[in-house]
């Protein structure tokens, strides 16, 4: 059995925990619960002909007071950078986090996840930014933890990338 550690990274309240909940348990709650420290979940996915056990490290959201400790990132085979489409600054945080992650554990596969796609009309980040990022070689996925849109694909996509190495 192949096991992979995946970290959920992003600014606070972008929907990291909700994405994990949606992916693992197919549930969504409107109630906002801030994550303290780390919460770990597990889900087995099938990529190609292989079963892969994903250990999802849902790490507390980064904000100006609390920087994500890189010790939680050690050994991660891949990570998600979650961005809240309605808050432009979360993209900035995502890139800061990417730099720090690469500084700590080197280059590992990651995916930019633009969450809250169910309320895309309220987004601050426009479609062009997303296209530009895709053009720059980043893997960009639109998701909605609320509706479940794109969630499965995001995880499968990252799994695929990790297996390709």
């Amino acid at each position: 059995m192949i096991k992979k550690k995946i970290c959920m990274l992003g600014a606070f309240s972008v929907g990291k925990t909700s994405l994990v909940q949606q992916f693992v348990k197919s549930i969504f709650s409107d109630k906002y619960l801030t994550t303290v420290g780390v919460k770990i979940d597990k889900k087995t996915v099938t990529a190609g002909d292989r079963d892969v056990e994903l250990l999802l490290w849902d790490i507390y959201g980064e904000d100006e007071f609390q920087k994500v400790k890189t010790s939680y990132l050690r050994g991660a085979a891949g990570y998600f950078l979650i961005i809240d489409g309605t808050r432009g600054d979360t993209l900035e945080t995502a890139f800061k986090l990417r730099d720090r992650t690469e500084g700590a554990i080197g280059e590992v596969p990651f995916i930019l996840v633009f969450n809250k796609a169910d309320i895309e009309d309220e987004w601050e980040i426009d479609g062009k930014t997303l296209e530009d990022l895709s053009g720059d070689g980043f893997t960009v996925v639109r998701t909605s933890a609320k509706t479940g849109m794109g969630v499965e694909e995001a995880f499968l996509s990252l799994t695929q990338k990790m297996l390709e190495g």
């Binding site: 059995m1 192949i2 096991k3 992979k4 550690k5 420290g37 780390v38 770990i40 979940d41 597990k42 892969v52 056990e53 250990l55 490290w57 400790k69 010790s71 939680y72 050690r74 050994g75 991660a76 085979a77 190495g165």
Partner: protein
């Protein structure tokens, strides 16, 4: 690469040839080789030095060593003696240099080893303290003595109850589970998530509280369970242990982890999530250990023993407390008893004892003991006899010495003993002599004593024996009109009895029934007996002591008058009385007449007809006073002794 070895070069140019060149040739050479001149000079320089050039060697040496050591270990062998020698020389010259180098390496390791050792010692010490004095402890001590092991070790072996429930082998960086084993009884959660959290907690603790890279969480405790964590640079082993495992379990974990680490070092370094290589690892399962005490098995027996013990203690306590209360009561009673002085009390070898002083005339302590219900065998008395000066005891002592009749009372006034009441002259004389010898008595006054002598009894005796009661023919009821005589006689008898008591004598009155000579002897005996009994019951009903009397039916054998006329016969149908007086000592005490006296008629071995009223005589009364005139000899007549002596003794 430049050729370092000049001799091996095929283009070896002789030196003398160069020195012989002329200027023109040099010029030509400059034109021909131009810019290569410096290189040529360099080559020339090299060619001049045919030995090894250190500068050049230093450039290639590391590379050369690496190449060679990858092929074989010749370099290691070559280096070994030199290195050893170098270290030795260095230490000989100045050991501090090497010490400074090794301290950072050795110190943490030494610190860790000592900490672990101290922890183990404390655990051993606690176990020794805890079990050192118990029954179980003594058993273990014996075992330690037998096996020659330290006591602490034996105690630990027995007292630790633990079970290693789960063991996780975790990849250190990613926190992914490489292998997970659990005991059958253990309740397990998803091992991956548990291990992830464990890793996160490790990170969290390190981030939160600082500490070096090598510092790590070694133990987590929650209730009865603890998580024991050991780690190397690549792997972590975490054991969930229920109860108290011995400290040596950590060493086992450590050894297991080290073995796994070295076996899978490459796999661990390049771990990409594939746990397959670790799945066949069996070492972890060997760490699932447990030890239980066989306590549960014995608990029933233990409870039974405990109950029995409690019952025994309760039983013993009950009796002990009861006896103690009785003992206190006994001491209290003795303390309050006049004439008894307690000097010491206590308990020795299960028995109570009392030492003290006791007046011989005081209450018997044995009887007091009986009243308190304390078993006599649990008590030991030790009395010193003494004379109490308590007025009660002085009077008692006087009574025991003077032996006064009951009619006498005493009073002590200013050491003078005053006697009151009635007594015989002889007693008064004796008492006056004896009183002087009694301690605490300085005089005896008998002024208030009414002195009585035998004369008074003689008079009464005459009055009694003079009295006769008459009956109608065949009747056993006294003829009417004699009621006053009955009253008179009763009064006389009671007075005489009273006087006799004062004189320390006993009186005995024989009631004899008579008939006239007509009729058959049997009938006459029966009637006469009934007549005597009639009088006896009258006296008793009037309050006279029954033991004063003997009852005899004489029939017609002892006629009071010769029967010449009907008047004589009428006179003979009567009951007569005879009184005797004896010293008190001569009579057996306390034998009531009801049992024996009236029993004349029931006496199986004597025919009633042999009872003869006239036979009886008193040895101390003048014979002339025997009214019936049957002069019996002072020594007892054989007939009487046969009929009554068996019952009363000589009267």
């Amino acid at each position: 690469m430049k050729n370092l070895f000049a001799r091996k070069s095929p283009e070896n140019v002789p030196e003398d040839h160069l020195t012989q060149t002329d200027d023109s040739l040099n010029e030509l050479r400059k034109l021909l080789v131009g810019s290569l001149q410096s290189q040529v000079e360099e080559i020339q320089e090299l060619l001049k030095n045919q030995g090894i050039h250190p500068e050049e060697v230093s450039k290639i040496l590391p590379e050369a060593i690496m190449i060679r050591s990858s092929r074989d270990n010749q370099i290691l062998r070559a280096m070994e003696p030199i290195t050893e020698e170098a270290i030795k020389t260095s230490i000989e010259r100045d050991p501090r240099v090497l010490v400074d180098v090794f301290v950072p390496v050795m110190l943490p390791a030494i610190k860790k080893a000592i900490t672990s050792l101290i922890r183990e010692m404390i655990q051993t010490f606690s176990a020794t303290l805890e079990h050192g004095l118990s029954m179980r402890g003594l058993k273990w001590r014996f075992e330690a003595f037998k096996t020659k092991k330290p006591f602490g070790e034996v105690a630990l072996l027995h007292s630790l109850i633990y079970q290693v429930e789960q063991i996780f082998l975790i990849h250190k960086d990613s926190g992914l589970v490489l292998q997970h084993v659990a005991s059958d009884e253990a309740v397990t959660q998803d091992p991956d998530m548990v291990s992830g959290m464990l890793t996160a907690i490790q990170d969290f603790v390190r981030d939160s509280f600082g500490g070096g890279k090598d510092d790590s969480l070694e133990n987590l405790q929650f209730g009865d369970r603890s998580v024991w964590i050991e780690q190397t640079s690549q792997a972590v082993v975490a054991a969930v242990v229920w109860g108290n495992a011995p400290e040596e379990f950590r060493s086992i974990l450590r050894e297991t982890l080290d073995a796994i680490h070295f076996k899978h070092i490459d796999t661990l370094r390049s771990f990409d999530g594939d746990t397959a290589p670790f799945e066949a690892e069996e070492r972890l399962s060997d760490c699932l250990k447990s030890q239980f005490k066989s306590k549960e098995k014995n608990s029933f027996l233990l409870w039974v023993l405990l109950t029995v013990l409690i019952v025994c203690i309760g039983y013993w306590s009950f009796f002990f407390i009861r006896d103690h209360i009785r003992w206190k009561d006994c001491v209290e009673r003795l303390h309050n008893e006049p004439g008894i002085v307690i000097t010491e009390t206590g308990r020795k070898s299960g028995r109570y004892y009392i030492f003290g002083l006791r007046d011989p005339l005081s209450e018997n302590p044995g009887e007091i003991l009986e009243k308190t219900k304390l078993e006599p065998e649990k008590m030991r008395f030790n009395w010193e006899l003494y004379h109490s000066s308590h007025p009660i005891f002085i009077i008692r002592r006087i009574r025991s010495i003077l032996r006064p009749p009951e009619t006498v009372t005493f009073e002590l006034k200013n050491s003078i003993l005053h006697a009151r009441g009635t007594a015989s002259y002889e007693w008064v004389v004796d008492a006056e002599k004896l009183a002087e010898t009694i301690p605490g008595i300085s005089g005896f006054r008998s002024d208030d004593i009414v002195v009585i002598d035998l004369k008074a009894i003689e008079t009464s005796k005459e009055q009694i024996e003079k009295t006769l009661f008459f009956f109608d023919k065949v009747s056993a009821k006294i003829r009417s009109g004699q009621e006053d005589t009955v009253r008179e006689l009763v009064r006389h008898i009671q007075e005489t009895d009273h006087l006799a008591q004062i004189l320390d004598k006993d009186i005995r009155i024989e009631i004899t029934g008579h008939t006239d000579s007509t009729g058959s002897n049997e009938k006459n005996l029966e009637i006469s007996q009934k007549r005597a009994e009639e009088l006896f019951s009258i006296f008793v009903s009037q309050g006279v002591r029954p033991e004063l009397f003997t009852v005899t039916g004489a029939g017609s054998s002892a006629l009071l008058r010769e029967e010449n006329s009907e008047a004589d016969r009428e006179f003979n149908r009567c009951v007569s009385f005879k009184m005797t007086l004896k010293d008190k000592e001569s009579r057996p005490v306390g034998r009531p007449l009801e049992e024996n006296g009236v029993g004349d008629k029931t006496s199986p071995d004597l025919p009633s007809g042999q009872n003869k009223a006239g036979d009886k005589a008193s040895s101390d009364l003048p014979s002339g006073q025997n009214k019936a005139g049957d002069n019996a000899s002072p020594d007892l007549p054989s007939e009487r002794s046969r009929s009554e002596g068996a019952e009363f003794g000589p009267l």
